[in-house]
């Protein structure tokens, strides 16, 4: 036996022994780890106003950020205990897989391929793909995009599928210029490098409203009729976290449906109907089944508000974005959102 072979066999022996001990540990849910750690690690985008962007004080603002806060309120009882990790499109899935973040809430469309890699919990926003163009160029419909230059985020963003479909449908080619950040792509479009900038609908509205020098110069159009269901996602194989994320989001919709708001939640917890009282802390069984405090749903509403409040605060009429809720209205108002029953 040569010396090298000896060394290798020793190494292998040692390796097997160590592998044996480390496999013995029992799998713990992220919910327990989040409690022990005292904060929730959640995704941030690279800065999309209305969805997730730090404000001038460095506090993350936006719809996606508030969804993170709701989950932190449910698990930790404190909506401020969220650490936001800014990620680009290519980083976000590996960040979930490697455990860098606990919850992905960052305009991520649910697709089959992605659902095989991470676990999508629930759709929080229904969006579409929007093309921004300059009014002066006269590109009034997608059919006029042939031969035009389009700025976009690379790295496998889903808006690319919408462009592929357009090219196939109209038998033309577009010149695509990719950037690693949607922010660079946007700024490059605004600088005049491209005729169009393509991104998610809500992001497009917020970019025009808050970043464009003269919002009136730009117009938007849907690239196709595809719906982009944006959801929250977690690592695979964590049922406990799945429960917490799904039912926390359900609290937001349920509260809107039943008119429970940040302002009246205290009153509702005392004087609401039987179901409302049970969910807002009267029946500890809801929280206990998920390993949470009995006040978990109350904390979510009290600290973050219901779905409508989150929407209005970040994207609604009182913000520069003034986004149309469209498909994100409650089913009773013509949208796709409805609460799941509790019992």
């Amino acid at each position: 036996m040569t010396r090298a072979m000896k060394c290798i066999s020793i190494g292998l022996l040692l390796g097997t022994a160590l592998a044996g001990c480390s496999n013995g540990a029992k799998k713990e849910s992220l919910v327990e780890k989040i409690k022990a750690r005292g904060n929730l690690n959640c995704s941030g985008s690279q800065g999309i106003p209305g969805l997730s962007r730090p404000d001038e004080k460095g506090i993350w603002r936006g719809f996606d950020s508030d969804v993170c806060r709701a989950i932190a309120a449910a698990i930790l009882g404190d909506a401020t205990k969220v650490r936001f990790v800014p990620l680009n499109a290519a980083q976000r899935l590996p960040a979930v897989q490697t455990g860098e973040i606990d919850i992905l809430s960052r305009t991520t469309t649910l697709t089959f391929t992605r659902d095989m890699a991470i676990r999508f919990v629930v759709n929080t926003l229904y969006d579409g793909d929007v093309v921004i163009t300059r009014k002066a160029d006269g590109i009034t419909e997608p059919a006029k995009l042939g031969g035009r230059t389009i700025c976009m985020q690379g790295g496998g963003s889903l808006v690319e599928n919408a462009l592929d479909e357009l090219e196939e449908k109209h038998k033309f080619k577009m010149k695509r210029v990719y950037f690693d950040s949607t922010i660079t792509a946007r700024d490059t479009y605004f600088a005049g490098r491209c005729d169009a900038y393509v991104t998610d609908g809500l992001a497009a509205q917020s970019q025009i409203a808050t970043v464009a020098k003269n919002p009136a110069e730009h117009s938007t159009m849907y690239a196709g009729d595809a719906i982009e269901p944006n959801g929250i996602a977690i690592p695979r194989g964590d049922d406990r976290l799945f429960d917490v994320a799904r039912w926390t989001f359900n609290v937001l919709i349920w509260a809107e449906k039943n008119g429970i708001t940040q302002a009246n939640v205290d009153d509702m917890a005392k004087n609401g109907d039987a179901v409302t009282k049970r969910i807002l802390g009267g029946d500890p069984a809801f929280g206990r089944s998920m390993g949470l405090d009995s006040k978990w749903a109350y904390n979510v509403i009290k600290q973050v508000g219901n779905y409508k409040e989150i929407w209005d605060r970040n994207l609604g009429e009182n913000t520069p974005i003034k986004a149309d809720r469209r498909l994100n209205k409650l089913y009773s108002e013509g949208g796709l959102m409805f609460p799941l029953p509790w019992d």
Binding site: C7, L14, A19, A90, A117, D137, R176, R193
Partner: protein
């Protein structure tokens, strides 16, 4: 226990530690992978890629496999690196010589170039240059500085020569011609060493190949080839060969950055050749040019090839910065594949393996060159 035994024991202990650490890492990693339900495999490489590349030197479409997309990315990286290595060597050498010039203006020009270039972070240079182009290039309309050449923020468009599919044979032909002339020059040099006479073979070879190419152009290429002129369409440019601002920024930015280092390497190389060598060459009646070419540069090469190897390797590594401004290099493409297929670990292994392979072959090649240079002088 004597000293040999003791040393053996130390080495064994050190080896055990290293293997133990590696084994621990592997064990923890595989446990964590199993924990998170991540499966490893290479099947995804054969799957449909499904994304487009903004620029590709290989023929590529979204219908191709992930593997082919990665290959296209590797070629894009190599093309960028080759361009940068070529220009940086050329410009850097010039600057290195200027640094030693007697002319104060030339000297301080070269010096400020070198200091700015090598003291700026390369990513900053790229971003600065890119936004600078965005400020100075015409946005709203296209300018035509020379007939048939168009310039705007969309790029620099020049008339393209359409060779009707003969492009590769023409490129090969040009390369063959250059190799031919090179070997004639080599034969001339060895003849001169043997006989002391310098036959005019090189001139004949150049004249003969020029005549040959004239015939090829007139008889073969001219009848079938056509020139595609770019056209302005609003702010856009259609047709012709378009040099995108992204590609231009990359080449210029990385060349500028690397040229600073190359200049310093060339300067030290020149200074390492003692004054006496110059004086001896002059005393033999050699001109300044011949002194440089025959006496100084061969000695300088012995000194500069090893640090130049590091610079070329740095170019390949720095080319990953292109991600910031939208060029589809190997890193970008593999990142996209990782994002689409979620095979992050395999993708990362591929990234490491490819850069290792590129840089190891590069350094093997440069070592070969180094060996020849060392022998050539000794």
């Amino acid at each position: 226990m004597n000293r040999t035994q003791r040393n053996l024991a130390y080495q064994a202990a050190a080896l055990l530690l290293v293997f133990g650490a590696v084994a621990l890492v592997v064990a923890t990693a595989s446990a964590n992978l199993a924990d998170r339900g991540i499966e490893l495999g290479t099947e995804f490489l054969g799957d449909r890629a499904g994304f487009t590349l903004s620029e590709s030197w290989l023929p590529y479409s979204p219908e191709d496999s992930n593997l082919w997309a990665i290959a296209a990315g590797i070629v894009n990286t190599l093309v960028i690196s080759l361009f940068v290595a070529f220009f940086a060597t050329f410009i850097g050498t010039g600057l290195g010589i200027l640094r030693l010039s007697e002319n104060a203006l030339a000297k301080s020009f070269a010096r400020s170039w070198v200091e700015i270039a090598r003291n700026s972070p390369p990513i900053l240079l790229l971003l600065f240059l890119y936004s600078f182009l965005g400020q100075v290039l015409p946005v709203a309309d296209v300018v035509e500085p020379i007939q048939g050449v168009y310039l705007s923020l969309r790029g620099l468009a020049i008339p393209a020569l359409d060779l009707q599919g003969m492009g590769w044979s023409v490129t090969g032909g040009v390369l063959l011609t250059l190799i031919g002339i090179g070997s004639v020059a080599k034969a001339t040099a060895s003849r001169q060493r043997e006989t002391g006479l310098c036959p005019p073979w090189v001139k004949w070879a150049i004249a003969a190949s020029a005549l040959l190419w004239l015939l090829i152009i007139v008889l073969l290429l001219a009848p079938s080839a056509s020139v595609e002129l770019p056209k302005a369409n609003g702010p856009d440019i259609v047709g012709g060969f378009i040099l995108s601002p992204e590609f231009f920024t990359l080449i210029t930015g990385l060349t500028f950055y690397t040229s600073g280092f190359v200049a310093e390497i060339v300067r030290t190389g020149l200074q390492s050749v003692t004054r006496g060598q110059w004086e001896a060459a002059y005393a033999l009646g050699l001109s300044r040019g011949r002194t440089l070419r025959l006496v100084v540069i061969p000695q300088m090469l012995r000194v500069i090839i090893p640090p130049m190897t590091s610079q070329y390797i740095n170019i390949v590594k720095n080319s990953t910065l292109v991600i910031a401004i939208g060029y589809a290099d190997f890193m970008v493409v593999t990142g996209t594949v990782i994002n689409k297929t979620s095979h992050a670990i395999e993708g990362t292994v591929i990234i490491i393996a490819v850069y290792l392979a590129i840089n190891l072959s590069l350094s093997a090649l440069m070592n070969q060159v180094n060996r020849r240079v060392q022998q050539g002088v000794g």
